[in-house]
Symmetry: C2
Subunit: 224 residues, 2 copies
Amino acid sequence: MAASGENVQLLGIVGSPFVCRVQIALKLKGVEYEFVEQTLGQKSELLLKYNPVHKKVPVLAHNEKPIAESLVILEYIDETWKSNPILPSEPYQRAMARFWSKFIDDKVVDTTWKSVFTVEEEEREKRIEELSEALQFLENELKDKFFGGEEFGFVDIAAVFVAFYVPLFQEIAGLHLFTAEKFPKLYDWSQDFLNHPVVKESLPPRDPLFAFFKGRYESLTASK
Amino acid sequence: MAASGENVQLLGIVGSPFVCRVQIALKLKGVEYEFVEQTLGQKSELLLKYNPVHKKVPVLAHNEKPIAESLVILEYIDETWKSNPILPSEPYQRAMARFWSKFIDDKVVDTTWKSVFTVEEEEREKRIEELSEALQFLENELKDKFFGGEEFGFVDIAAVFVAFYVPLFQEIAGLHLFTAEKFPKLYDWSQDFLNHPVVKESLPPRDPLFAFFKGRYESLTASK
């Protein structure tokens, strides 16, 4: 819990997977914070002041000291509020957690996006193949209930993109890629993770997000 | 220093900026290691075994436990061998170090490459402009002798790309971007950093690297 006199602000947009990561971590730690909602496509003065480099959410401001980049923020949260550790304590396990979180950012996020919103057919097929390979790596990596073991941790939080956004995007595009048949362990994991009370409370409402991206998808495919 | 009975291997290629980061960190910590040289364009069995996901160097194997991704390796080294800390101890300063290291990977490395090896003129000009902006952010961020303070640390090591490779590439392409006039603090930093005994010993020999990339550059511009 944030000590009295502490000021914790999260600059975010509802629906951003990167913001959602920070929300899950703060909720897990029981840190009270103010959600300073930003408008998509507009850069508020506070955002420009707090993240002049990338001008993007999320930004966590702790007593007016700003931090950007969701995985950097997660490490900060874990080092600042010690209850319910997100990262393991052993250096090798910590390295593995950092490796797989980076893997999700490098190999899943952008690829998912392109596997849905790429107009050119051959290119899109290639992205779907890449996404399938990436999900297979995660399927193989999952040894316990969660990536973090019996409790969820750093990789699980990073992988909220896999649990929540990949199914949403594939439904929009009519893809049948991330299914219980093809990735049984990862699929079970996604259900356990999404139904965890801390995660459930932190997720954005699905319907408006679905409608928003469905609209973008339809205008894209209509213009083909 | 590695405890007796410890086995530290670094799978690398001489000339890789990412491998060089790990070499600097190991040397700073006084860790003895075996350099297992890989051949460019070939994937050894050991590399495929140790980094099946990305199939890339560097890989650090500590008692046969492999870790990939240079910044992940640096954190592991810092957590495993405690002398000469690479990261600051205070959480906010640690977050800043992680932020700027990621910034170098996201905004400098690829941009430098493209500002030299992009054939299309307009696109190349755009990359040079982006690189210039990125260097300006680093110039503004530099408050002490090193990014790490009086001693070099995590960001400095990540920024070996800026100190050693940016000047090399700009010389190949006849660019005059990273100069003492345009970026005085960053330029002084680069000289201090490159002349630090630990760094000096860890750098690849410049001449063969220059010849290699000059050759690639000339064949590219000849084919325009």
